[in-house]
């Protein structure tokens, strides 16, 4: 069987996960990743990397459950192995607190994290302005470690890397048998998908090594995530905001809100600030399309638009994308394989 040339566009957490999935599972595929940005310059590199999904409106719940469960189980196995420190994957316990009791006290993912329960009255005492809370253990996956580790895995099975910005998918499709589009926010330009929009997020990196548990306000705007090198405190969720520069007013607001939740942060030193643009979309797009060129049908598997859930759903959506690729290779073999 002649080798199937697969091109993965994008080297963020979704792109590299997809590339590794394909390269490790389909030995007859040769995988090339092409992207402008690599770690430490991808969106995921600044993200805290806590595995915590949200519910998307239009994707069947069973599929969303599968996406999260597969991502969680995959990363849990890494956390439980000697590879954990290299990969930057480890367990993280903490509190998810709500100022008002949410309609959904037990979200769909509560079965997939570890030890999910409601917070006790004594635990809630620390947060006087909050009425309800969930306590559980999830995973933290730090892209600064994880992406280089994935890259190593990719190269170990013969994967190739090209450092280049993609502006024309049609042109690339001439030289490949299949394309996996994991270009995140750039899909807006690459595919002219107007449904993709930035959701700007700013965080502060703080030195507070005595903090071990995460705290997240259910509204998603205030959180404290202890990491390997620093504690990430945040945040902001500014839709359609393309600014990559640090906003000092945002920093002030973040510090105020986080110090209220965790007073010991007042003793912490701020090490830096970071801004990232989440690839927002009503729903992640994980589906297959065909590009028709010069008599060939080139399958394009899309895997983008994960919003703030890139790390959280990376492996599960990569597996889905792999399945879509596999289907297309057996349904409509591209001319290059004859």
């Amino acid at each position: 069987m002649k080798r199937v040339k697969v091109l993965v566009v994008g080297a963020g957490v979704v792109g590299l996960s997809t590339a590794v999935c394909v390269a490790e599972t389909l030995p007859y595929c040769s995988v090339t990743v092409i992207a402008e940005k690599f770690s430490p310059d991808t969106t995921g590199d600044g993200a805290a990397g806590i595995l915590l999904p949200k519910e998307f409106p239009d994707i069947p719940l069973e599929r969303q459950k599968r996406w999260f469960k597969e991502s969680f189980d995959h990363l849990l196995a890494i956390a439980d192995s000697p590879q954990a420190s290299d990969a930057g994957v480890y367990l993280s316990s903490g509190y998810h607190i709500f100022k008002d009791i949410p309609c959904d006290k037990k979200p769909f993912w509560s079965d997939f994290v570890l030890g999910f329960r409601y917070m006790t009255d004594r635990e809630m005492k620390r947060f006087p302005n909050y009425k309800f809370g969930q306590a559980f253990t999830t995973l933290k996956c730090e892209c600064l470690n994880y992406l280089p580790w994935l890259e190593k895995r990719l190269r170990a099975v013969g994967g190739q890397i090209i450092h280049e910005k993609v502006t024309d998918l049609q042109k690339l499709a001439l030289n490949y048998d299949a394309i996996m589009n994991c270009s995140g926010l750039s899909s807006r330009f690459l595919l002219k998908d107007e449904e993709v929009y930035p959701i700007r997020g700013q965080i502060l990196k703080v030195s507070a090594p005595w903090l071990k548990n995460f705290i997240r306000d259910g509204d998603g705007n205030t959180y404290i995530y202890p990491g390997i090198r620093y504690v990430s405190i945040g945040g902001t969720r500014q839709a359609d905001d393309w600014r990559l520069e640090v906003d000092k007013e945002d920093s002030k607001g973040i510090l105020e809100r986080c110090c209220r939740l965790e007073p010991s942060l007042r003793a912490a030193q701020v090490m830096g600030e970071w801004v990232g643009l989440r690839p927002g979309r009503a729903n992640p797009r994980v589906e297959r399309q065909y590009l028709h060129l010069q008599g060939r049908q080139v399958p394009v598997v899309h895997n983008y638009g994960h919003g703030g859930c890139g790390v959280t759903l990376s492996w599960g959506t990569a597996l889905d994308a792999l399945d879509l690729l596999r289907q297309s290779l057996f349904e409509k073999p591209p001319q290059a394989r004859l």
Partner: protein, 346 residues
């Protein structure tokens, strides 16, 4: 009133603090002095990982369970103070692993969010079939002791570096009350066959991705149990519990055994950088000795309050015992008061 405290570990220093807090406005002058041959960072309290956790079962010592809980509640209230980081106090969650089903531990109501481990959680720890998860407090001796010393120095408590040979020595120099917080070497001051060293060795490791403590309990076989306890900077890996062993030197055999057991528990440790080993002697006793003793010395007598024998739970129980010691001190004051009126004690 001159109070002399022997010992500057967590027990000695916190006892000085409690006595000051309860009596400095009631007695004037109140002179508090601390005598010790070893100060932070070289005390037993300094080397301990600092996890607040009593032994699983109190064997009927309900007083100790009460003192443990009192300490937890006290430290929890300090968490929200601006001093919490300077005191070395913070919350940390973790796993208590057992080789077989066990009754709930004595501390289940003191800690936060106590619950049994789920099957998926136990799957992460082969060899352990049962256990609990809870959020507890950490009190790091290397930070807490200097904070306590500062607190005491600001209130004119004096420190003297010297080894005390006998209670009489201090009594003869004018001490009104002596408080014995000399830990594992109390036997040098007054023989106590119930007091023995329980040697522990630990390995300090750089592994900042580990955010939970893990302690193991081999219910049927007593003795050495592995534990991994992250601190604010390094992770403390242990443990051995060698009763009767006075050797303060690090043992390479212990190091190997501790390391192997820990790596089995937490595979990610294999790539962690080992920083140093440390050995300490837990002042083990059947139960804490916290009581008054009147010692006759010729025609006179002097008062001693013993506060030692806290085993591996000194940090865990310190505040409760300090407060109890202050209470016993109050009793002594009540008895001396009639004399105080007739004799000038200045």
């Amino acid at each position: 009133m001159r109070v002399c405290i022997i010992g500057a570990g967590v027990i000695g220093l916190s006892t000085a603090q409690s006595i000051y807090q309860h009596f400095h406005s009631r007695i004037s002058p109140l002179t508090i002095e601390v005598y010790a041959d070893v100060f932070t960072p070289l005390t037993t309290s300094d080397g301990a990982a600092g996890l607040w956790q009593p032994y699983l079962y109190d064997k009927g010592n309900v007083q100790e369970t009460k003192w443990n809980k009192e300490t937890f509640d006290y430290l929890l209230s300090c968490l929200s103070s601006p001093d919490s980081v300077k005191m070395g106090i913070f919350l940390q969650s973790g796993y208590n692993l057992c080789t077989e089903t066990a009754p709930d531990p004595s501390f289940k109501d003191a800690v936060l969010g106590f619950r049994q481990l789920t099957k998926r959680e136990l799957d992460m720890f082969p060899g352990y079939s049962f256990g609990w998860f809870n959020t507890a407090l950490m009190i790091e001796g290397k930070t807490y002791l200097p904070w306590l010393m500062d607190w005491l120095k600001q209130r004119n408590v004096n420190f003297h570096q010297r080894k005390i040979g006998s209670f009489k020595e201090l009594a003869d120099s004018g001490a009104d009350v002596i408080i014995n917080c000399s830990g594992v070497r109390s036997g040098d001051l007054q023989p106590d066959p119930e007091l023995q060293p329980a040697r522990g060795q630990i390995i300090k490791v750089d592994a900042p991705w580990i955010k939970h403590w893990i302690t193991t309990h081999n219910i049927s076989s007593k003795g050495d149990s592995a534990y991994i306890i992250p601190g604010s900077r390094l992770v403390t890996v242990g443990g051995v519990f060698q009763v009767g062993n006075w050797n303060l030197q690090n043992s390479s055999v212990d190091h190997k055994n501790i390391w192997e057991a820990a790596c089995k528990l937490e595979p990610s440790l294999q790539h962690a950088r080992i920083v140093e080993d440390w050995t300490g002697l837990r002042p083990a006793r059947s139960k804490v000795r916290l009581e008054r003793e009147t010692i006759r010395s010729g025609p006179t007598s002097f008062e001693v309050i013993h506060n030692y024998g806290h085993g591996g739970f000194g940090l865990t129980i310190h505040r409760g015992c300090a407060e109890e010691t202050a209470r016993l001190f109050g009793q002594i004051l009540e008895q001396k008061r009639p004399l105080a009126l007739s004799k000038s004690r200045l």
